[in-house]
């Protein structure tokens, strides 16, 4: 703040600086007078007028001072419209104050989309303070606990639908409020659910506008972006017991039975959480957010859902989408299959289809192969299936970068090790004719059908892994050595796949280039006489 102040001081002329200082001074004076006696309440209007101005420092001073004034007024219960005595002077004052207060709140909400991030954060802070006071006041008057959700949803809406929402604003909402206060978090989830529902009407009270679906596309995009940002920043998972739910923003008034309240019921929290996520997933998500949700799904969403099976549609749709989205969905799907008893038909066919030409090049290959190892870890899988996977992976390894080949070799080794029936893939003896005892002439063609999506029909088990044999003469020496393992007796227990997953070109290059030169590098027998050797491949097509 102070930095900003300083810079604005510099920019402005001294005259305006002086005037702004005077304004701040006057605001302070008026605040003191308002707080000292109720006679001076009219000054509130003056301060409010300053708050509507352009001078950011003055505005800041004015809104904070108004915040303090309204805090005090809430304490004195002067802001509640009383229905009984409509005509008394006190009621009139209350009404008048209440109108002013409402204007103030509207102003604050509009400031949430202020161009400067600190102003947004300050507005949020004041708004939430007001909500706290309002809730306390209601509790004091009625003796019941009631969260002022109407005000809160208005704030949340102003934040989430705000295309100008700064990162600071979202972060401060998540970190200073939602991560700390249980009631705010629960109502936030509920409000998100409400806002995400298709028939939600943000202007239900006023006459303009319609349901959310008729909104402009940009606003929906902003809502999705902001909501995901905040929801991913809320690190606190729904708590398991009522005892833990002890940090409340709006305090429960004394004498109210706590156990009956939803705010302290863990089940209500979980429900709010589940519904919020489900509702959010129904939004038109961008591909980026889609992937990010999938990436955190199995750790941060599935375990806290009331009924994780509700995610099944989302996950199976993503799994069918193909490409990297499928790879990401695999993780969540796996959690559902193993822990929530989901039955997924033709799972292995889909998995086989995931092994496409880009598999070894995408970012998520490590993640995929970690799961792949689990899926194919069972020793009860039929050998045709295992053989198909081994063959497909070796085929892909033939055109994969070293970082991919270094994964493919241990994976295939582990498959062969676990399924000795598939050893024919790397060692096939000629078959003998039973009657004559002569060697059968083998078909020259490779029986494997690379384009066949059905595992049972691709005939991989009748093929041979020539690819692995070729990888033994890979240009990168470590891979060539690793591929030699297929030529040795299978004594080695399974490879720990984890050791091979995180290689990249850069790690390979680092290890090679940082190796110390022990002895002088070997020179060619004939020193070159020309830049491009005559007869060289380059000389065919390059003219110097």
């Amino acid at each position: 703040m102070s930095k900003r102040k300083l810079s604005s001081f510099k920019d402005e002329q001294s005259a305006t600086a002086k005037s702004s200082r005077e304004i701040i001074e006057s605001v302070r004076r008026m605040e003191a007078s308002v707080l000292s006696s109720q006679q001076n309440l009219n000054d509130v209007v003056d301060i409010f007028n300053i708050a509507k101005g352009d001078e950011s420092e003055a505005v800041f001073a004015a809104i904070s001072s108004l915040g303090r004034i309204y805090n005090a007024l809430w304490e004195k219960d002067l802001l509640n419209r009383s229905k009984k005595h409509k005509d008394t002077a006190a009621a009139k004052v209350s009404d008048w104050l209440r109108d002013n207060y409402n204007q103030y709140v509207v102003l604050l909400r509009s400031m949430l989309s202020h161009s400067e991030a600190p102003m947004q954060v300050a507005a949020l802070k004041l708004l939430l303070q007001m909500i706290e006071k309002e809730g306390e006041s209601t509790g004091r008057n009625t003796g019941m606990y009631e969260f002022p959700n109407d005000s809160f949803i208005a704030v949340i809406e102003a934040v989430l639908d705000n295309s100008a929402a700064s990162d600071h604003l979202l972060r401060s909402l998540a970190d200073s409020y939602l991560n700390i206060y249980d009631d705010l978090r629960m109502y936030f989830y509920r409000d998100v659910t409400k806002m995400a529902s298709p028939d939600y009407d943000p202007f239900r009270k006023s006459k303009r506008g319609g349901p959310r679906t008729s909104h402009v596309v940009e606003q929906v995009e902003a809502f999705v972006q902001n909501t995901f940002a905040v929801m991913s920043m809320v690190r606190v998972a729904p708590k398991k017991t009522a005892e833990e739910l002890d940090s409340l923003w709006v305090a429960v008034p004394k004498g109210v039975d706590k156990t009956a309240l939803a705010v302290v019921s863990p089940k209500a929290h979980r429900k709010a959480f589940s519904e919020a996520w489900l509702a959010f997933m129904r939004q038109p998500l961008t591909a980026e957010i889609f992937k990010q949700i999938l990436a955190v799904m199995h750790k941060r969403i599935v375990p806290y859902m009331i009924d994780p099976k509700n995610l099944m549609d989302f996950l199976s749709n993503s799994y069918d989408a193909g490409g990297s989205v499928s790879l990401l969905a695999l993780n969540g799907l796996f959690t559902l299959i193993t822990e929530h008893n989901l039955n997924y038909p033709q799972f292995y066919e889909k998995l086989y289809a995931l092994l496409d030409r880009n598999l070894f090049h995408v970012k998520y290959r490590a993640r995929f192969f970690r799961l792949f190892e689990v899926f194919l870890g069972s020793s009860h899988l039929p050998s045709y299936l295992v053989a198909a996977f081994a063959k497909r992976i070796s085929r892909l390894a033939l055109s994969a970068p070293p970082s991919g080949a270094v994964i493919a070799i241990p994976v295939v080794y582990n498959l062969l090790k676990a399924h000795p029936k598939c050893m024919v893939l790397i060692h096939r003896m000629p078959e003998y004719d039973e009657a004559t005892g002569e060697e059968k002439v083998q078909a020259a063609n490779d029986p494997y059908l690379a384009d066949e999506p059905d595992l049972a029909k691709c005939r991989a088990i009748d093929s041979s892994l020539w690819e692995m044999q070729t990888l033994q003469s890979h240009y990168y020496p470590n891979i060539a050595t690793l591929a030699k393992i297929f030529g040795e007796p299978f004594y080695k227990p399974k490879f720990q796949l984890e050791d091979f997953l995180d290689h990249t070109y850069n790690t390979f290059f680092e290890t090679d280039s940082s190796r110390k030169l022990r002895k002088a590098p070997a020179l060619a027998a004939q020193p070159p006489t020309t830049l491009i050797r005559p007869g060289d491949a380059i000389s065919d097509f390059l003219a110097y």
């Binding site: 790397i426 060692h427 041979s464 030169l517 590098p521």
Partner: protein
């Protein structure tokens, strides 16, 4: 045997008698005593006891422990066959007495002397300081005495001095006033006794003050210093004199005339000298006898022999190369199998051969063997700090540079933007430096050979690139080549030991120069470049390690730029692209040299392997959007082929790139199914390669031949596109032709691979597609050269595929010696023994053995400790008993005195009573 059957009693008796302990003569009878006869057999008690014990030990069968022999070897005597337990116990006891007992006895004593001398063991302390310390210590010690008269005030403690109980001050006032006036300074004995405590020898007026003492010390130290300086000056003077006379002394030593002169000068010494000369002559003759004779030199080889030797050398070199290709260590020096057509290499080889023998004085004449192998490690590394090379570590996230999937165009790399930025800056800076170099050297490059400058014949050796630029700034390219030749002659390796360093500097400078020349537009003549390459190739063997290190740094630099280019292209295709990222023409030229200078067919090569990784990363991940990039990529693929020409290893990235380039010429970028093959391809790559697509309406200049790719295309974008914005169709055909030719090369290269069919089957489809889709209209016809090439390649491929199909058999990678089937029959041991372990698991056996050993040792240690404790307890008991006895004796004595006193008293009393009674 008979002896052993005797009863124990009998044995004892006989033993006693034989030891002279029993029997008639053993005891001294009273009679004998009276007679005063002392028998010789009469022994002292202690001796007797010892003998008795010996006999006892020898006879007691329960004290003999006989260890059973497990493995009896005839004739082998073991120490522990029979162990006498009591003797062993006795020995242990003795040992304990000497060790623990001694310790116990000495435990309250403190021995040794503390060395409290000052500065005696400190060699570094100055003598002055030493003296000062000692002095202060002395004074402090003295000051500690209470009655120290002299220096009492120094310590600030005021002790009142007294004489006969009276204060000295008081005495002063009274007695000594004005006595010297009366007696003229003489004082009498009384005064002396009173005032001077009986008279002191010292005539000093009073004690020295601290300041005085310090002054004295300072003066002393100054004097010492002065003396030392004086001595040093004298020494220096002497040395100078000696130096001055050195010439004459030398003359005396070495010239005969001088010696004669000397003799003339001193005739008196002549006789003595002649004798000395005789002696020296004798010794010289003796020495000469033992000196090695000169050996006959090898005769010159005939032409046939020389040729055969050359052939052998080449064969050897090839053998070593093959070994390295297999990944085995080559057992020779890497550069010894270097070819030597030229003078320099001959020189190098000769120098190497000579450096094996020990240097002799004659070597000083023509080629002096460099001392200590020329340069130390630190000097060597000085050359590495090239401007271009910044050794910053790059940090990458594991998946960050990976390209994304085809659906996605925007990778989120926002997190790395800062590190990107710093990297970018680095690269920018180095790029700017590089551009400056290019600009500087472009100046002379533009000039014609007919420069007015006459070339001088000598040059200073350039140590870095700046010096080189300075050197050649005024010369044309041809003259530069002459300069290089002259430099190599001037600083020939045989001329001076320092020349090795200079030549290796030159080699690195030339490498940089080549990089600069490769970037010139228009390109420098190929002859110049080739000449430069030749020099680099020859100079590389001068200091291979240093050159290799330089090359590796170059590769690291190139890789950094590659990584940056990839990141830039994947982050945002439209974003700001930093200058100097990506591969430059100079990089390609340099890497091309590395391929031919180094033995690139090695399985692992410290320069070529990282280079290949870098190239493959570029080919696999970079976004090839411009003709410059694509042409560069094709040249790199050709370079990769050159590295695998002999070793024929699989480089998937090169094939993938070629496939992509081929397919791009006819395939639709929006339809992934159109691009056949297994190679990975994302949407972004397809879109980028779109530039290569040959439209049906495009018309090319020539209907028959295709232009080759020009080197200038690699240098800059404008050159590649010929000034226009889009890629001309002719260049597209050039690219297509290059890709086809390269593929033909790779087909040859990989034909023997088992997966040849898998590798090249997709090519069939791609070629078919190209054949179908290339424009064949009358006016927009593809050049006939392309069509012809395509046709031959298709036929060739089909042929090769068929051949490979026919010859391929299922793999048999597991043809090992068959393993024995696991037996289920129980194992049977013929002579089973409980003491032997039959566990077949070696490690388990060893574990058991070790465990046993540990247990045994532990038991032994516990036993020892227990015995020690017993011993100590016994000692304590003994001491206690001794003390008790002493006390008892003391008390006894006291009691006896008291008792006798008492009895005396009682006696007296009784007597007194008796007397009284008697009186009464």
């Amino acid at each position: 045997m008979a002896k052993q059957k005797q009863s124990a009693l009998k044995k004892l008796r006989s033993a006693l008698s034989s030891a002279g302990l029993t029997g008639p003569k053993s005891q001294v009878s009273k009679k004998d005593k009276k007679r005063g006869i002392r028998k010789p057999t009469n022994l002292k008690t202690a001796e007797r006891r010892q003998k008795l014990r010996l006999i006892q030990n020898a006879l007691n069968p329960f004290e003999m422990k006989i260890n059973r022999k497990k493995l009896d070897v005839l004739g082998l005597r073991r120490k522990d066959e029979q162990v006498n337990v009591s003797v062993a116990r006795q020995r242990a006891l003795e040992r304990r007495k000497q060790t623990i007992g001694e310790e116990r006895r000495n435990r309250t004593r403190v021995g040794g002397i503390v060395d409290r001398r000052i500065g005696e063991n400190d060699a570094e302390m100055e003598p002055e300081e030493k003296m000062l310390r000692r002095f202060t210590a002395e004074r402090q010690k003295r000051a500690r005495g209470m009655f120290n008269l002299e220096e009492g005030d120094l310590e600030g403690e005021i002790v009142e001095l007294t004489h006969f109980g009276k204060s000295i001050e008081e005495m002063d006032d009274v007695k000594f006033n004005g006595f010297d006036d009366e007696d003229g300074g003489n004082i009498d004995g009384g005064q002396v006794a009173a005032g001077h405590f009986g008279g002191f020898e010292e005539s000093r007026s009073g004690p020295k003050t601290k300041a005085e003492i310090m002054q004295e010390i300072i003066a002393k130290s100054k004097k010492h210093k002065y003396e030392r300086q004086l001595a040093k000056e004298q020494d220096d003077e002497l040395r100078r004199e000696l130096d001055g006379e050195l010439a004459s002394i030398k003359a005396l030593l070495f010239s005969k005339d001088g010696a004669e002169d000397d003799e003339d000068d001193k005739p008196m010494m002549k006789a003595v000298d002649s004798k000395a000369v005789d002696q020296s002559y004798d010794t010289v003759v003796k020495e000469l006898v033992f000196e090695k004779r000169a050996r006959p030199q090898d005769r010159l080889k005939t032409e046939v022999e020389a040729a055969r030797e050359e052939l052998e050398r080449l064969e050897r070199a090839e053998r070593h190369r093959r070994r390295r290709m297999e990944g085995l260590p080559s057992d020779s020096e890497p550069d010894s199998d270097r070819d030597s057509d030229n003078d320099s290499d001959d020189g190098m080889r000769a120098y190497k051969a000579e450096s094996k023998r020990r240097p002799v004085a004659d070597d000083l004449g023509d080629d002096f063997a460099p001392a200590g192998e020329i340069v130390s490690e630190s000097e060597m590394s000085l050359g590495m700090g090239l401007q271009q090379v910044t050794n910053e570590e790059e940090e990458h996230e594991s998946g960050e540079e990976e390209e994304d999937d085809d659906e996605e165009e925007d990778d989120d790399e926002a997190g790395d933007s800062e590190s990107d930025q710093s990297d970018l800056n680095d690269v920018e800076v180095s790029h700017r430096q590089f551009q400056q170099k290019v600009a500087i050297s472009a100046q002379p490059a533009g000039r014609t050979a007919a420069s007015s400058h006459e070339l001088p014949f000598t040059f200073p050796a350039p140590s870095d690139y700046d010096a080189w630029i300075e050197l050649i700034a005024d010369y044309s390219l041809d003259q530069q080549i002459v300069v290089i030749r002259r430099l190599r002659t001037l600083y020939h390796i045989r001329l001076s030991p320092q020349n090795k360093q200079k030549l290796s500097d030159l080699c690195i400078v030339l490498t940089e120069h080549l990089a600069v020349l490769a970037e010139q537009t228009p390109p420098v003549p190929v002859a110049i470049v080739d000449e430069l390459v030749k020099h680099i190739g020859e100079l590389a063997s001068i200091d291979t390690e240093r050159f290799g290190e330089h090359c590796r740094q170059t590769i690291v630099d190139i890789h950094r730029r590659i990584a940056l280019a990839i990141r830039n292209s994947s982050a945002d295709a439209n974003g700001p692209v930093a200058h100097g990222t990506g591969i430059r023409a100079s990089d390609i030229a340099l890497m091309r040299i590395f391929v031919s200078v180094f033995s690139s067919s090695d399985r692992y090569h410290s320069i070529v392997t990282p280079m290949l990784v870098a190239i493959c990363q570029y080919l696999g991940q970079n976004l090839f959007a411009s003709l410059k990039d694509i042409a560069g990529g094709l040249v790199l693929v050709g370079l990769v082929h050159e590295t695998q020409r002999l070793s024929r290893r699989l480089v998937p990235e090169a094939l993938n790139f070629l496939y992509a380039v081929l397919a791009a010429s006819v395939c639709n970028a929006e339809d992934p199914a159109d691009w056949d093959g297994q190679y990975p391809l994302s949407r972004r790559h397809r879109l980028a390669l779109q530039t290569l697509r040959i439209g049906v309406t495009e018309k090319c200049l020539s209907q028959t031949v295709v232009e080759p790719i020009r080197w200038s295309w690699l240098v800059s974008e404008d050159q590649a596109n010929g000034g226009s914005r889009s890629v001309s169709v002719d260049s597209k055909y050039s690219v297509l032709r290059a890709a086809l030719q390269l593929l033909q090369r790779f087909i040859d290269c990989y034909f023997s691979q088992p997966a040849f069919i898998e590798l090249f089957e997709p090519l069939q489809k791609v070629l078919g597609k190209i054949n179908d889709r290339l424009p064949k209209f009358k006016h927009q016809k593809a050049p006939s050269e392309i069509l012809q090439l395509l046709d031959t390649l298709r036929n060739y491929l089909n042929e090769q595929l068929e051949q490979s199909q026919a010859s391929r058999a299922p793999v048999k990678m597991q043809s090992h010696k068959p393993l024995a089937i696991d037996s289920v029959a129980p194992m049977f041991e013929a002579n089973y023994s409980l003491d032997v372990h039959y566990d077949p698991d070696r490690s388990r056996n060893e574990g058991i053995k070790l465990r046993r050993q540990v247990n045994r040792e532990k038991r032994g240690a516990v036993r020892e400790l227990r015995r020690d404790a017993q011993f100590i307890a016994g000692e304590k008991l003994k001491e206690q008993r001794q003390k008790d006895r002493a006390y008892k004796d003391k008390m006894k004595k006291a009691w006896s005195v008291l008792e006798s006193d008492q009895s005396q008293l009682k006696k007296l009393d009784r007597m007194r009573i008796r007397e009284r009674k008697a009186k009464v």
